[in-house]
Structures are given as structure tokens and as C-alpha cells.
């Protein structure tokens, strides 16, 4: 049981660090774009092949960004679990 508790805190700590790191990048984009729109309207309205920069980001590029971030999260999260499972297995042997 002691071993389990050590495992628990290890799992949660590593997972939550990972989750918060991915969330931080995402929140920076999500909350940063309204600021860009408000304080750098010229840059936000820059014409890129018919789209304004801000429309291109919000209407098109945003979705692939969520895919990249979630792919990264899942790969890292599974790796954490595998590592822990291996460590735990060695300890209980």
C-alpha cells in the first residue's frame, strides 16, 4: 500500500506537470489572440492570400494546432504511464 501511494504521487505529479505545460501553451494562444486583435490591429489585419492574419489563425490554423498539442500530450502521457508501470513492476518483484 505504501508503495502504491508513492506510485500515485509520482503518476499524478508527472501527469499534471505535462497537462499544465500543454495547457499553458494553448492558453497563451487562446488568450493572446484577443490581445493581438485589440493592441496590434494592423498586424492582425495583415492580408495573407485574401485572409487577414487573425482570420487565418482563428478560422483555419487553430484546429491543426489543437491536433499537434493533443498528439504531443498523448504520446508523452502514455510514456509516463509505461515508465511508471515498468518501475513499479521492478520494485514489486
Amino acid at each position: 500500500m505504501k508503495n502504491d501511494e508513492a506510485l500515485l504521487s509520482a503518476v499524478m505529479k508527472r501527469q499534471v506537470t505535462l497537462s499544465l505545460r500543454v495547457a499553458a501553451i494553448f492558453i497563451a494562444v487562446l488568450l493572446g489572440l484577443p490581445l493581438l486583435n485589440a493592441y496590434a490591429p494592423q498586424l492582425a489585419q495583415k492580408n495573407i492570400g485574401g485572409f487577414s492574419l487573425t482570420w487565418l489563425v482563428l478560422g483555419v490554423l487553430f484546429y491543426p494546432l489543437t491536433w499537434i498539442l493533443s498528439r504531443w500530450f498523448i504520446t508523452s502521457s502514455n510514456k509516463i504511464e509505461e515508465d511508471l508501470a515498468r518501475e513499479h513492476g521492478e520494485k514489486t518483484k
Binding site: 502504491d4 501511494e5 506510485l7 500515485l8 503518476v11 499524478m12 501527469q15 499534471v16 497537462s19 500543454v22 495547457a23 494553448f26 487562446l30 488568450l31 484577443p34 490581445l35 486583435n37 485589440a38 490591429p41 492582425a44 489585419q45 492580408n47 492570400g49 485574401g50 485572409f51 487577414s52 487573425t54 482570420w55 482563428l58 478560422g59 483555419v60 487553430f62 484546429y63 491543426p64 489543437t66 491536433w67 498539442l69 493533443s70 498528439r71 500530450f73 498523448i74 502521457s77 502514455n78 504511464e81 509505461e82 511508471l84 508501470a85 513499479h88 513492476g89
Partner: protein, 657 residues
């Protein structure tokens, strides 16, 4: 009116019914009914979740919102997609590892508190019913606009077919159908838009016309007949003329004017305006409220110069303009003359740039934008009917992979919705005139020269819209019936009930709640679809999202803490939206623009309030932390290989008996 769209709608409805019937044969055990036997593959579950999530609001509403409000409305689909990322980062894996049947199971099991189950189940039913009403309304309105049938017909069709499907097959029965409906919706939103772009011109060219000509506004390309609503459908009876140029309406039916005002609210110190005098007919200069215009009257509206002490007010070197706004008392009909500036259409600058009409109406555009983002993100991650689907995955790891694929599937879908809005503004701008932008996906194909092609494409989008009402309603019905049969009956009323008895109650509940939903759908004909969905999101964001977030990650969360946060946060958010609703019906008046913004978009204070209360009350009641909190957390987070995870409810046939 052509019968082609009807044919497509009937086809998708029959496909739904028979696919459901076919899948039903394999649904027998209680576990099949509540969580599809926990055997749904990643691809199937991702398509089913996406199918369930892309509701009437997503299919018709987002395209319409982009047409109406431009850039600002792009936040809606982005917020929805972002919600799934948060779901993935913080909730999906632990929630699945808990292994229950319903979300109230999590509430009870995490704290060993039957009382908390009661609170949680109330929220499931509340959120579910709020979310159901707009689906029903969408069905009624669509059937009305494509076939001219009465409002109740669409509701009856969707309600009956789906209640039958759910009662017969439960979660297992609808999973396959919802997956099919996702692909039907993706086809319906994407294929017609490619055809339309090939004929009418590409997305980026249309958009460039608006971004590069900020001073312009849509004008009617030809004479078009518009049907206007009466005051019983307010605010849809409003015609706000353009401040950029004149517009002419020739009434083909008698019309009665309820109210005349200006589009822009006067600021303190400005001279009083006389909008009546900027409306002329061939008979008189100026019209006043109460006037009746007979059929044949030609009404022209002119922009008005805003003045202060008799001098034009200037802003950025240009004089500030407004225009008259009229409201009709009774439904009427008029021809908008070619070349008229289309009423109710925002100018190109306001439409294509951030902080347009949607977010700045209140005066606090940045605050409004942030609050909207928080509501959509936290609301999506807290919708019980979506969350319950994660229990249908075999394990925590597949729950995470499912979330990834959901993001891909809904992202691809949402990429297409702004294209509809943009093309709609460019090619059928007259939809603004009588506030029908919601119908853009159905009406746009009909302007094609080739009528047959137009009707076929309109048929495809109508069928897509129907697939949207049906799949979302079926998900809601499963989640509400599950709550009624499993939580209310199986855990509260008769804890000794056998799985077979609970399946029976599930079927009865599906029929009963189906009938209630149809009844509620009939009541909300005049409500705004987006607002109704907003209510559901506001409650979910301030109740379930904080519960799941803290419940999965904070060991010291106690039942009193979680319950206080959920009840106070959820209830206050609901009251705030309700107050805003009363204000928009002019029953009460909220003077302060800041208070009004915070009532319209309560998430920015509701979510932190709920989380804050959970933390504070948990600290005060630290004695009540469940004794086995550690073991519970271990189950939520330990990788499956360790053999520590155990489904909270395990009734797979053969395992329990």
C-alpha cells in the same frame, strides 16, 4: 417548392431508424444499454462523440452566426474544439478509469455520498433539457422552412424516431447511428460548399472583398421578396437600415409599423434625432409608429447624420452616421429593390475585423470575448451527455486516443462552417434583411442557375441538419434516461433493482423523457437557438467542469466543498443568464453595461467562483475527506497494466453473475 429536399430528409430519417433497429439486435445487457458494453473502438467512438456533439447549433447556427457577426463568431467553433483539448488534458483518462455508468456515479463514488448523487443527477437532467429544447426547435424550424409544414411536424418526427431508437437499443443502439450521422454531416457541410465555390468563387476571394473594402456593405444584387416577422417573433421583426446608403422596400402586403428608432444609440450630449423623417414614401415625407402602409407603398430609408449642437459629430475624420430602424407589428412582405443597402447587415469593417457587433454590443468587447471563450471551453468539458460517452471506451488510454480523433473530426467539420457564412454574405446578403441568416446552409444552394443542382445541394444540407438534430437528441436522451433509470430508480428509489429491471425502466424513461422533450420543444418556438444552448453551457461550465477537474486531481476535495461550488456556481450562472433574458424581453432593465455583459456571459466569474468555493469549503470541512481517497485517486490515475484499476460498476455478462 420542390420535393427533392424532402426526399433527402426522409432518406436520412429512415436510415437513422433502420440502422438503429439493426444495431439494437445486439443490445441486451444492462451494460449494453448504459455504456454499450464498454467495447466501443476508438474510431467508432470518436465519430459517435463528434456526431453527438455537432448539433443544430453547430450545423446551421455557426454558419449563420459567422454570416451575421463575421470574425467574432469564429470564436464559437474554436471554443468548442478547445473544450475537447481541456477534456483530454485533465478529464478524459481519469474519468474513464473510474469506470461508472453515469456522471452522477462519479459524483457519488468519489465521495461515498448518496446525497451528492441526487444533486448531480438534478444537474444532468437540467442541462439535458436545456440542450434538448434548441434541437427540437431546429427540427421544427427546418421542416417549416424547407417544406412549409407547421412547426410541430419536425419536432414530432425527430422526437418519435429517436425515442424509439433509444428505447429499443440504448447506448449500444445509438453509437453506430451517431457515427453514421457524423459522416453524413461532414458530407453535407463539405461537398455542397465545394460545388458552390466552384460556381460562385473561392473562399479567400470572397473574404478579400470584405477585408480590403472596409467602407463597403452588402447591397441587394437583384429585387428580392422578403417575408418579415411580426412583434410576436421579436426581435426578428426588426429592420435596421444601413448607415452607409439608402434602401427601398415596396410592400406587397399591408404593413403596420410598431416602432421607429435609430440603429445607433445616441451618446449623451448629442442632438435628438428624428428617424421618422428619414423614411419617405411616395405619398408622404416621414412615417410614425402606428402608421399602416398599404400594399404597393414604396418606402425609402436614408442615412442620418449624427449632430451635436447642430454640428456633425466627427470620429477619425469622418462624420458619424446612423439610420432609421423600424419594427413591424404584424407579419408582412416586401420587395427589397436591387442596389439597396441590405438592412441589418453590418458594414465590411465591423464584419471582417475583431470586436464587431457580437462582442462590442455591450461596451466591453475584450471582457466579452474572454468570457465567451471560458464558457465554451469549460462548458464543452462539462457536458454530461458528452462525458458519459467516455465510459464506453475499453480503457483510459483509448479514452485519450478517442479525444484526439474527436478533435480531428470536429476540427475538419468546423473548418467549413465559416465558408458558408462568408459565401452567404457575398451571394445571398438579403437573408440579413429579415433576420434569416440561420438558414444560410439551406438557402445558399438555391440561388444556383441550375435549379436541379441547387435543390439537390439544398436537399443534402437539409438532410445534414436533420442528422444533427437526431444525433444530438439521441445522445441527450440516452444520458437523461440513463440518469433516470440508473441514478434515480436504480440507486435512489429501489437500490435492490436487478439489471433487467433497470433496463426496463431505461426504456420507459426514454419514452417519457422523449415526450416531455417534444412538449418543451413546442414551447420555445420564439427563443433564440444560440441563447438556449448558451444556458446549457453556462450551467455546465460552472458545475460539472469544476467538479471533474478538482475531483480528478485534488485529493482533498470534500463532498460539502464540491456540492457548494456546484450548486452556487451553477445556480448563480443560470440566474444571471435568466436576468439577461428578462432584460432582452424588456421585463426588467439592467442599466449598467458591465453588469449586463457579466449577465450575458457569466462564465468569467461563474467558473472561478465555483472552483474557489470548492477549495474554501473543502478546507473548512477537511475532516470529511473520504478515508479511502488515496485508493480512489490511484484508480483514477494508475496505468491499466498495474491491475489497480477497477470499474466502479462492473456488470459485463458473466463477470457479475
Amino acid at each position: 417548392m420542390s420535393l427533392i429536399p424532402l426526399f433527402f430528409v426522409i432518406a436520412v430519417t429512415l436510415a437513422t431508424f433502420f440502422l438503429g433497429l439493426w444495431a439494437t439486435k445486439r443490445a441486451q445487457s444492462a451494460s449494453d444499454f448504459f455504456v454499450a458494453g464498454r467495447q466501443v473502438s476508438v474510431g467508432m467512438n470518436a465519430a459517435a462523440i463528434s456526431g453527438e456533439y455537432l448539433s443544430a447549433a453547430s450545423f446551421m447556427g455557426v454558419a449563420g452566426l459567422v454570416m451575421k457577426n463575421g470574425y467574432d463568431a469564429l470564436w464559437y467553433p474554436v471554443g468548442y474544439a478547445a473544450g475537447y483539448l481541456f477534456l483530454l488534458l485533465f478529464i478524459a483518462g481519469p474519468l474513464r478509469r473510474f469506470g461508472a455508468y453515469t456522471i452522477p456515479d462519479f459524483a457519488e463514488g468519489r465521495f461515498d455520498s448518496p446525497l451528492f448523487r441526487k444533486i448531480a443527477v438534478t444537474f444532468v437532467l437540467f442541462i439535458g433539457l436545456f440542450y434538448t429544447m434548441p434541437q427540437m426547435k431546429g427540427a421544427g424550424v427546418t421542416m417549416n422552412s424547407i417544406m412549409g409544414w407547421p412547426y410541430f411536424v419536425g419536432i414530432l418526427v425527430v422526437g418519435t424516431v429517436i425515442s424509439a431508437n433509444v428505447a429499443l437499443g440504448g447506448m449500444k443502439g445509438i453509437t453506430f447511428v451517431q457515427a453514421f450521422q457524423y459522416w453524413a454531416k461532414l458530407f453535407a457541410i463539405s461537398v455542397p460548399v465545394f460545388v458552390l465555390m466552384a460556381i460562385l468563387g473561392p473562399y479567400h476571394k470572397k473574404l478579400e472583398n470584405f477585408t480590403q473594402k472596409p467602407g463597403g456593405a452588402p447591397t441587394a444584387p437583384k429585387d428580392v421578396t422578403l417575408k418579415f416577422a411580426g412583434k410576436d417573433k421579436a426581435p426578428a421583426n426588426t429592420v435596421g437600415f444601413s448607415s452607409l446608403g439608402e434602401a427601398t422596400l415596396i410592400f406587397s402586403k399591408d404593413a403596420k409599423i410598431e416602432k421607429v428608432s435609430t440603429v445607433r444609440k445616441s451618446e449623451p450630449g448629442e442632438d435628438a434625432l428624428r428617424p421618422e423623417m428619414s423614411l419617405t414614401t411616395q405619398l408622404s415625407q416621414g412615417i410614425t409608429p402606428g402608421d399602416s402602409l398599404t400594399a404597393g407603398t414604396q418606402l425609402t430609408a436614408f442615412p442620418i447624420v449624427v449632430t451635436k449642437e447642430q454640428k456633425p459629430v466627427e470620429k477619425n475624420g469622418k462624420s458619424v452616421m446612423t439610420a432609421p430602424k423600424i419594427e413591424f407589428s404584424e407579419p408582412t412582405e416586401a420587395v427589397l429593390k436591387a442596389g439597396s443597402f441590405v438592412p441589418n447587415a453590418p458594414g465590411n469593417k465591423k464584419w471582417s475585423e475583431p470586436y464587431g457587433p457580437l462582442t462590442s454590443a455591450s461596451g466591453y468587447p475584450l471582457l466579452y470575448t474572454y468570457s465567451l471563450i471560458i464558457a465554451l471551453v469549460c462548458g464543452t468539458a462539462g457536458l454530461p451527455h458528452i462525458l458519459v460517452r467516455f465510459y464506453t471506451n475499453p480503457d483510459g488510454r483509448s479514452a485519450k486516443r478517442t479525444t484526439f480523433w474527436v478533435m480531428v473530426l470536429i476540427g475538419v467539420f468546423y473548418f467549413f462552417t465559416p465558408i458558408w457564412g462568408t459565401l452567404g454574405r457575398a451571394d445571398i446578403p438579403w437573408l440579413y434583411g429579415n433576420n434569416k441568416t440561420d438558414a444560410v446552409v439551406i438557402q445558399l444552394p438555391r440561388i444556383l442557375e441550375n435549379k436541379l443542382l441547387g435543390e439537390i445541394l439544398a436537399g443534402i444540407t437539409s438532410a445534414g441538419a436533420f442528422a444533427a438534430f437526431m444525433s444530438t437528441f439521441s445522445g441527450l436522451l440516452v444520458s437523461m434516461s440513463g440518469a433516470a433509470a440508473h441514478d434515480v430508480y436504480g440507486k435512489i428509489i429501489k437500490p435492490t433493482a436487478t439489471p433487467e429491471e433497470r433496463v426496463k425502466v431505461f426504456k420507459l424513461a426514454a419514452v417519457g423523457i422523449g415526450i416531455i422533450s417534444m412538449g418543451l420543444g413546442l414551447l420555445v418556438e420564439t427563443f433564440d437557438i444560440a441563447k438556449l444552448v448558451g444556458w446549457a453551457f453556462a450551467i455546465a461550465a460552472a458545475s460539472y467542469f469544476p467538479l471533474l477537474l478538482l475531483g480528478a486531481w485534488w485529493k482533498k476535495l470534500t463532498m460539502p466543498g464540491a456540492a457548494t461550488g456546484m450548486l452556487v456556481g451553477g445556480t448563480l450562472s443560470l440566474l444571471a443568464v435568466f436576468a439577461f433574458m428578462l432584460d432582452s424581453f424588456k421585463i426588467i432593465t439592467i442599466e449598467n453595461p458591465l453588469v449586463k455583459t457579466l449577465c450575458d456571459q457569466p462564465a468569467i466569474w461563474g467558473v472561478p467562483l465555483s472552483i474557489g468555493l470548492m477549495v474554501i469549503v473543502s478546507k473548512l470541512t477537511a475532516k470529511t475527506i473520504p478515508a479511502d481517497a488515496n485508493l480512489k485517486m490511484l484508480r483514477l490515475h494508475a496505468p491499466e497494466e498495474l491491475g489497480l484499476s477497477k470499474n466502479y460498476i462492473d456488470e459485463t455478462p458473466g463477470a457479475a453473475h
